[in-house]
Amino acid sequence: MTGSEELIKEKKTIIEARNVNVFYGHFQALKDINIIMKENTVTAFIGPSGCGKSTFLRCFNRMNDYIEQFHIKGEILIDQKKIYWKSVAVEELRKEVGMVFQKPNPFPKSIFENVAYGLKIHGVKDKNFIEERVVKSLKDVALWDEVKDDLKKSALALSGGQQQRLCIARTLAVEPKIILMDEPTSALDPISTAKIEELLFDLKQKYTIVIVTHNMQQAARISDKTAFFYMGDLVEYDDTKTIFTNPKQEKTQNYITGRFG
């Protein structure tokens, strides 16, 4: 088992946060966060509600930009590039860093249009190319066999689990390097959840995944690294196995064993 952890160490750093502080007005949501994430790994963010984990996740694709009084200090580097620099085109960043949300949120359009949307807004016109990419993305999320005959049907007619996989396919279609997931299975039944967890294992080969989850067992099952946040602090960041067998911080232990408060 220590072998895989050694392998992670040798991988390329893809996300790096240096002394990140986030404020909403006078409220400090994140305090001096430093973290390094490697390519092709799954990192889980855990912690009680309001601990800042989702805020931090949304810093990586600058989804917080529209929030009133949002203010960030420190640096976040993706692929060695500072993403909060003025010259960074946010649209290009979000092409590299995709996001899957808590509730499945397909567009009220056809299944095909949902997956093709990302390509179209990035100016892809070649119809054959779009079609190929849509098929590939749907296959990658194991949805192809279920929907191949009704690509023209409204995405809203799919089940919740299928919708969420469609949302993942939609993200994959623009070939990002990183996929951010904000509690992607919290609105799904256990079987759909299991399917998505299975999917994460495969996606890890090609993408770097950062996932926020309230489900401790899920974090334990799917992630290589786990970061525990509490009241805006990154309390502990370590191999998932270590976090769940022998966490170094008492707060972490209390949280994962359900003795919080």
């Binding site: 290009e92 979000r94 995709g98 996001m99 949300f101 009220p108 949307y117 807004i121």
Partner: protein
């Protein structure tokens, strides 16, 4: 009353209120029904093809509503093409782009208040600005511009409501894929809210065609011998024609007025019907 249980008492109160509520509902409906019945009784027999296509005349039997009807259609058309883009554009700006500053909320309150300003005030405003300063005279264009001003607040407010009803998760999904703000509005927010936007616009315009006061102030005439053929022509509209007829002493003109009212009512009912149809159609199509 004394030997009733609490539950029985509550049930009694419950039923009493139900009866009261039904009475309230029917009060309005009955009054309206009496009104419509009255008008239909008087005016229906007067409506025929000649009534619609005849020009106004001093003799009630020969008078038609053609010029007024065409004036209303022109006003309708011009007001729609002026108010729709401006109102929807302003609505989109305020809802999607505008920063939530103190100025923005001040602006918001003002727009909401404008919707409640008496229409005669708009008429005076139109008279000063469009008729006199712009020199448009008592033309269709001046009238439409004035009515556009009048219904802009309604369109803006209803556009914003329709945009607000689009779940932010859809916008988030689009933005997270790298879409710009405009791409998101054009591809997601507007298509998802178009039903609501159109409903608001149609209802606003159907209010505009019933307006009389501002048009009188702007200079719409009670008697126009010919149907207008360009936006710069003089005009009259149905409500003014009706007002004109009603104020005459002869009974025949009152019949004419009733007939014209039926046509005007049909007009507004049709537009409201279209609005309701659109609303239902879009509500059914998109279930969040």
């Amino acid at each position: 009353m004394k030997n009733m249980t609490n539950a029985q008492k509550n049930k009694l109160i419950d039923n009493a209120f139900k009866v009261f509520g039904i009475a309230c509902t029917f009060f309005g409906l009955i009054i309206l029904a009496i009104l419509i019945f009255n008008i239909v009784e008087v005016g229906l027999s007067r409506i025929d093809w000649d009534f619609i296509k005849d020009l106004p005349s001093r003799r009630a039997q020969k008078a038609g509503i053609y010029t007024a009807l065409m004036g209303t259609v022109w006003i309708l058309f011009l007001t729609a093409i002026i108010a729709f883009p401006i109102g929807v554009g302003a609505g989109i700006y305020l809802e999607e782009y505008g920063k939530k500053t103190k100025w923005a909320s001040l602006l918001e309150i003002n727009i909401a208040n404008l919707a409640g300003v008496p229409s005669i005030i708009y008429g005076l405003l139109g008279l000063e600005i469009f008729v006199r300063i712009f020199g448009l005279g008592g033309s269709l264009l001046a009238g439409s511009l004035t009515l556009s001003l009048l219904i802009l607040p309604i369109i803006i407010v209803s556009t914003r409501e329709a945009l607000k009803a689009v779940p932010s998760s859809i916008k988030d999904a689009s933005v997270a894929l790298g879409a710009s703000k405009w791409q998101t509005i054009w591809n997601q927010t507007l298509p998802a809210s178009i039903g609501g936007v159109l409903t608001g616009v149609i209802l606003a315009i159907s209010r505009a065609i019933g307006e009389t006061a501002p048009l009188i102030v702007v200079g719409a005439l009670a008697y126009v011998p010919f149907a207008p053929s360009s936006p710069m022509d003089e005009f009259t509209v149905m409500p003014i024609q009706i007002f004109n007829w009603v104020s005459r002493p002869q009974h025949e003109f009152a019949v004419n007025a009733a007939a014209a009212i039926i046509i005007l009512l049909l007009f507004t009912f049709m537009m409201n019907g279209v609005a309701v149809y659109y609303r239902n159609k879009w509500q059914k199509k998109i279930k969040w």
